[in-house]
Amino acid sequence: MAKNYQYCVAECWGSGFITHEEACKFRISGFPGNVWQVPAYNAEADAWITKVSGEKKTVQEAQAILNAIIKPQQAAWDALPEDQKNIPPLRSRPTDIVLPE
């Protein structure tokens, strides 16, 4: 099946990273580790990746970057004393993020 999304890694530098015009044209989603998701087979999204000097990643590579951030947070949570784990709404176990194809 054809993929719906493509991924890249790029550091958000602030103003102009995602312009209003770009946000109007296609959906950009940000994840931990400076991972960005944009539509696949989309010329405008391709141009944005080039603009931000994005390093393209497969979905598996992007997922590995997220996991490398989230898994240690989950391990740190698991190591907490039981009475310090679930303090809703300020603290709960960091949730997994699963990137779609």
Partner: protein, 345 residues
Amino acid sequence: MSTYYQIFGGKINVVSSDPSNPIEGQVWFNTTSETLKYRSINLLGTWSSGGNLATSRGGVAGSSNGTQTTAAAFGGNIGGSPPPSGVVSTATEEYDGTSWTSGGSLSTARSYLGGAGTQTSALAFGGLGPQGQTGSPGTVRTETEEYNGTSWTSGGPLGTAKYGVGSCGTQTVALSFGGASTNPFINLGPNTISNVTQEYDGTTWTAGGNYPTTILGVAAAGTQTSALGFGGFAPGAQNITNEYNGTSWTAGGNLGTARYYLGGAGTQTSALGFGGFAPGALTATEAYNGTSWSTEGSMTTGRGSTATSGTQTAALAAGGAPQTAVTEEFTGGPSGAITRTVTGT
């Protein structure tokens, strides 16, 4: 049944990549992605990048009565794995629509505090102080501080220490409602969640009409005498909305997505709600028209407890948790043309 050709007088183009500059109403089939696509007007608002905060922080407050291009962000929680940590900030940063610069520091470091006013006339109150048990946020604060664009000075303290309040209004006519008065990291057990509303007159806080439910991490918009409270934790993520007239609260339309520590901007009859937790960080954005909420374009980065400012059609979200320095600016729709994919069977 009529065919596409009979209706429009042309065939759907079959292409291997999307056209580089499609016009509104154009339809094509992309053989690479095996999808039918079309170009249409985007009726939703969108979020774009603003300048990054100098310091990544969650539980940060904003000059909620400011604008998208003239705002202040202050306090907040820095780092921690898992968050939140006991390291809280006194830092104030000022936004000019492009970048953030350092302002005067709060006297009392805190996170999950209330914020109101403008960049040059801001109000900070309550919050969680530094370093509690096992490095978690500490004592719940009563202090109120007033900012003049350069430095903070003491105002009248809250009658009861609170964090996670809903806050709106100006420096001298502000509103605080809900929140919690004990820190569950220290006083182990459930949050002591409040339904108390307090009104600030520039000197002292006095009691207003109680919020209909006990609520924590509730968003706010509007003024002291025409406020909106929405979402929150009671416990569990809430979708409720309530409207305040300066004396009492009445129910409004429910949010589409229940959540807490979401951002709020605008007025009682023209508000924007965005982000929050349920418990994962959300990007969902909704607009309120005084009666009901409708879906708007989602934020780029999921987060809650962000500093907010602006209006329903020109809002600002800066920082937030999971700890980020990212700023996003919302522009109300309609917002040009967008390529959409036909979905379903």
